[in-house]
């Protein structure tokens, strides 16, 4: 079993996933289309700075952005285990736009990072204050990291 990571002060670090997933399909498309190019550029710059500052502090484990929901497919196993795909989603379904996985000393630090991402600039440079879901990466009761890989 992998040992849990520790901070410089010796505290056990915890892994959190910060998810941008509170948007439905119509939010995603209504969103960007109404923005001025300059606002989009400022937004992207901000998001890049979030990532680079987390990389610098050593807290970033990974980050990804996903394709827009047009490219989403839901797959289930059929009777013989074959993939059965479906691309029709209820209007209310939330899609993940992207995420960060961070390794931090406590939940408060994860919330702080999430609040910073939440304040990303939108139209006219005003903070979006968008919701960011914060979830702990699972660990077994033994205190070790869950490492399903």
């Amino acid at each position: 079993m992998k040992m849990a990571a520790r901070s410089a002060k010796g505290a056990t670090l915890m892994k959190y996933m910060l998810l941008m997933n509170n948007m439905t399909r119509s939010d995603v498309y209504a969103g960007v289309s109404g923005w001025q190019q300059q606002d989009i550029d400022v937004h992207i710059e901000f998001m890049k700075s979030v990532t680079s500052s987390l990389r610098q502090s050593g807290e970033l484990l990974s980050t990804e952005g996903l394709e827009v929901p047009d490219h989403a497919v839901v797959v289930r196993a059929g009777k013989n285990g074959e993939p059965v795909t479906d691309g029709v989603f209820p209007e209310a379904k939330e899609f993940l736009a992207g995420y960060w996985i961070v390794e931090v000393a406590d939940a408060e630090r994860a919330y702080q990072i999430a609040a910073h991402a939440s304040s990303a600039p939108g139209p006219g440079g005003a903070p979006l204050n968008m919701p960011i879901e914060v979830r702990r990466i699972a660990r077994p009761a033994t205190g070790g990291e869950v490492n399903l890989t």
Binding site: K15, T51, E64, G65, A72, G81, G98, M130, E133, I137
Partner: protein
């Protein structure tokens, strides 16, 4: 091409109340599944998440301070875990997703759970598309 395979199978207030034997069979299946994906060189990352009772939604307040909320509608889907795979075709991603979908559940019966499959853009970093 990189794809993210998501198990959006948890709901607010849900816990895993299966018999211990069935939970063990599920974990053994998942570990073996991951081992195969790693052996084929297709696995980039995989994580399992904690239950929604520990989830929070955070927003920046007026001065940028975190405002947390942990009350969710019962219909809200939560990510239970995910895989990122690097494969030649979308069909291969769907094949892998179907295999995960058939993970054994209570009584060893295949769950046939829905797995959302989404491409990850080549130049991924911070998500380019935001509202």
């Amino acid at each position: 091409m990189k794809y993210m395979l998501m198990m959006n199978t948890m709901r607010a207030g849900q816990s895993l109340d299966w018999p211990k034997k069935d939970i063990e069979a599920m974990i053994a299946f998942m570990m073996n599944f991951n081992k195969e994906l790693r052996a084929s060189g297709e696995l980039i990352a995989a994580e399992g998440l904690s239950f929604p009772d520990q989830a929070k939604v955070v927003r920046a307040g007026a001065n940028g301070e975190p405002i947390t909320d942990g009350v969710f509608p019962e219909s809200k889907e939560f990510l239970a875990g995910y895989w990122i795979v690097d494969v030649e075709t979308p069909e291969r991603a769907y094949e892998i997703a179907a295999k995960a979908s058939a993970c054994p559940g209570p009584g060893g019966k295949p769950l046939n759970m829905p797995i959302e499959v989404r491409p990850i853009p080549v130049m991924s970093g911070p998500p380019p598309e935001m509202p």
